[in-house]
Every structure is written in C-alpha cells, then in structure tokens.
Amino acid sequence: MVADYTVRDWVTVGLFGALWAAVEVTLGSYLHVVFPSQANTFLTGTVLGGIGVAVALTGRHFVAKRGSVLLIGVVTALLKLLSPGGALLGPFVAIVAESALMEAVLWPVRAPRRRAFVLGGALAVAWNLPHKFIMMRLMYGKGVVEVFTKIVRDGSQVLGLDPAAAWLILAVLLLIRLAVGGIGGWGAWRLGRAVARRLGRRDPATNAPGR
C-alpha cells in the first residue's frame, strides 16, 4: 500500500496529521473541560469528528493515493496519544476508526469524487455514536449494559416517555452525526479545490491546472 509513496506524499501525510492533531489537542482539550465526557456524549465528538473529517479528506486531495486518509488518521492518533494528558485509549480508537471508515469508502474510488467524500465523512462521524457504547462496554465490562438499560428505563419514566423513544432519540442523534460528517466531507471537497487553485496546482478531481 505504501511502497509507491514519495517523500512529498509522506510530508503531506505528516502535515495533515499535524493539522488534525492540532485541532484534537487544542479544541479537544478545551471542549473536554467545558463539556466533561461523563456528562456529554454528543457535542464534543460531533464537533471534533466533523472538523477532523474535513482535515483528513482535504489531505486526500493532495495525496490522491490509496491509504492516505488512514495514514493521516494513524499519525493524528499517535500524536494525540503522545500529547501531555493524552494517553487514553478512547480518542486513539475513535480517530483510527474514523479514518479507516473514510478509507474504506475511498479505497474503491480511483480518483477523488465528491459523493465519496460526503459518504466517507458521514460514516466517519456516525462512528462516534456506537464508539461511546463500545468503549464503555470494553472499559467497564458487561455490567455497563445493565446500567444503560436502567438509565433509559428510569429516564423515560421521569420524562413520561415510552422507553421505545430511546431508539428514536438514538436515531435522531445518528442522523445529526451523518449530516455533520456529510457537511465535513463536502467542505473538504470544496476546500481542497480552493487550496489547489490558490497554489496553482492541478485539481486531482478534474486534472485541470490551477489558475
């Protein structure tokens, strides 16, 4: 997969990995302080996921080779892991899973395509929803399933809702994530082309020279 990568490709992978990591470390740390992860399962992951997806997919514009988005994600995850206070399994797994999902969509596509960017971005941010449950199941074991069930049952009783409404809430949360990820992918498509024009480089999608 990486045998045909040139020095320029590796440098670009490092640059976009650093950009994504800068967002994760600065904005991520800020959001985690304002919205602690125990109290919030929605905002932080969606915002960081949307921006991360946009950065990684913009990188795909400039390294239009298979595996580049996954490599950008791996670099970001390692930087996050090595950052002060970042030795946590959750963000590492989330970043690698998001980039793997984007890569899975982009892998069969030879040249970058807008719909692949949008779909890849949507799937990557949507991962945030099951990620929370999967990581908690791994971290805390099977007892956490009983805790979740009890929270949903008691919460719906307090709010006077049918427990089945929990599924509806989850579906709405998933839809919002899909939309944010899709916008991130679409934004990356536009941003990549705008930057290519600014730098006078060829647009990888149309192979047209930059102005």
């Binding site: 590796w10 650093a18 950009l19 206070g85 074991g141 941003l191 930057v195």
Partner: protein, 226 residues
C-alpha cells in the same frame, strides 16, 4: 528494558484486562503497578490525574444505585450490594485497561516510535509522525498569524468569508511549508523506501518479561479451565 518490552507488556495486559474478572483482575492491577514501579515509574504519573480517577470512580459511585435491587443502606441512601460489587469490578477493569495503555505509551519516546516503525518496514510513517510532532507549534503560529491578519484587515465583518479565507490560507501555508520540508529532505537524499532500518535491540530484561508473561498466561488459562 527496551521499547519492545513495554509494548509487549501493553499487548499482553490489554487483552488480559478484557478477559479476566474478580480476584484475577485485582491481581492484574497489582501486577501492572509493580511493573510500572520497576520498569517505568514515570508512567505511573497517570495515577495522579484527577480526570483518570473521575472516570474510574464514576462506575463505583453509580453502579450501587443502578444495578440490582437495594438491600443495604449507606447513610440515607438505599443501595444494592450486588451493584457495589459490579461497580468495583467495572472500576477495576477500567483501571487495568487505562494503566496498561498508559504504561505502553509513557515508555515510548518519539525516537523510539520512529525506530519501531522503521523496524516494522514503515519508515515513511515514522518520518511523517516525527515531522508532524515537530510541526505542531509552527502550525499553531501560522494559524494565529493568519487569524490576526484577517482580523486586522476587517475580515471579521463577514464571518463566513473570514472562515473560508482562514481555512484556505492556513492549508495553503501548511502545504507551502511542506514544500520546504520536501526540499530539505531531497537535499539530504532522504528516501523513505531505502536505507538500513534503525535498530531497537532486545535486552535480557525483555526476554525475562516474555518468560514471565508466558507463565502468567499459562496460569490464567489453567485457572479458567478448572
């Protein structure tokens, strides 16, 4: 102990933390702390962080109220003994898992990481990671300079245009900086696909750790069978 030894320990401790329970989990937690004290005391700084304990203790605090039927009273609160036991086990699992990862990560410096990738045949990935790590501060400064320029030229009066300008300029500047890095690497004849890999030698302590972990695995499996 070399980075291989610490990675081996993390690679063993993470699945072990997911598979064992009860007193074996407590034993694993003690084993991890002992390993940290002997091999990498710096890694145990993780235990001083309030956020780490907040994650761990959430399980102990919530489970007695949410798991099982209340059968014991602690002060004014009716709690479940079954829930308290489940909460302790959940906290123990989270503790061992977080510490296993922390021990592996804290033992790796950036140069160790690059050498490990080099040894695994991913020389380019090590180069990209080292480059990215060294670029973080520069990127931050470039982004700040871009933002101030837009601000001082009155760009914030139209927020969407300002955002677009900021993103395009930041990414374009980053790529221009990348051109300089590519030139510098070319001048030094750097080739990510050629050259001898860096060496990360195995030490006696790594082999002793391997033997200990194999013995622990056999003991765990034997205990599970019986």
């Amino acid at each position: 102990m070399s980075p291989w030894g610490c990675l081996l320990f993390t690679g063993w401790a993470v699945p072990a933390a997911l598979l064992v329970d009860g007193r074996w989990l407590a034993g694993l937690a003690l084993g991890e702390v002992a390993f940290g004290l002997v091999a990498r005391p710096r890694a145990l700084r993780l235990l001083r962080r309030p956020r780490f304990w907040a994650v761990i203790l959430t399980a102990v605090a919530l489970a007695p109220f949410l798991v099982g039927q209340p059968d014991v009273r602690i002060g004014p609160f009716p709690v479940s003994w079954e829930g308290l036991v489940a909460g302790l086990e959940m906290a123990g699992r989270a503790f061992t898992l977080a510490l296993a990862v922390g021990l592996g990560v804290a033992s790796l410096s950036l140069s160790d990481l690059v050498a490990v990738f080099d040894r695994l045949g991913l020389r380019g990935l090590g180069f990209a990671t080292a480059l990215a790590m060294n670029l973080l501060r520069t990127l931050h400064e470039m982004a700040a300079a871009t933002l101030w320029t837009i601000w001082l030229r009155g760009g914030m009066r139209r927020p969407w245009t300002a955002l677009r300008l900021f993103l395009v300029t930041s990414v374009a500047n980053t790529l221009r900086y990348g051109d300089d890095v590519v030139n510098a690497a070319s001048v030094r004849a750097f080739d990510p696909n050629a050259g001898a890999p860096a060496t990360v030698a195995l030490r006696r302590a790594d082999l002793a750790l391997l033997a200990t972990l194999l013995a622990c695995t056999v003991a765990l499996l034997t205990a599970r069978v019986h």
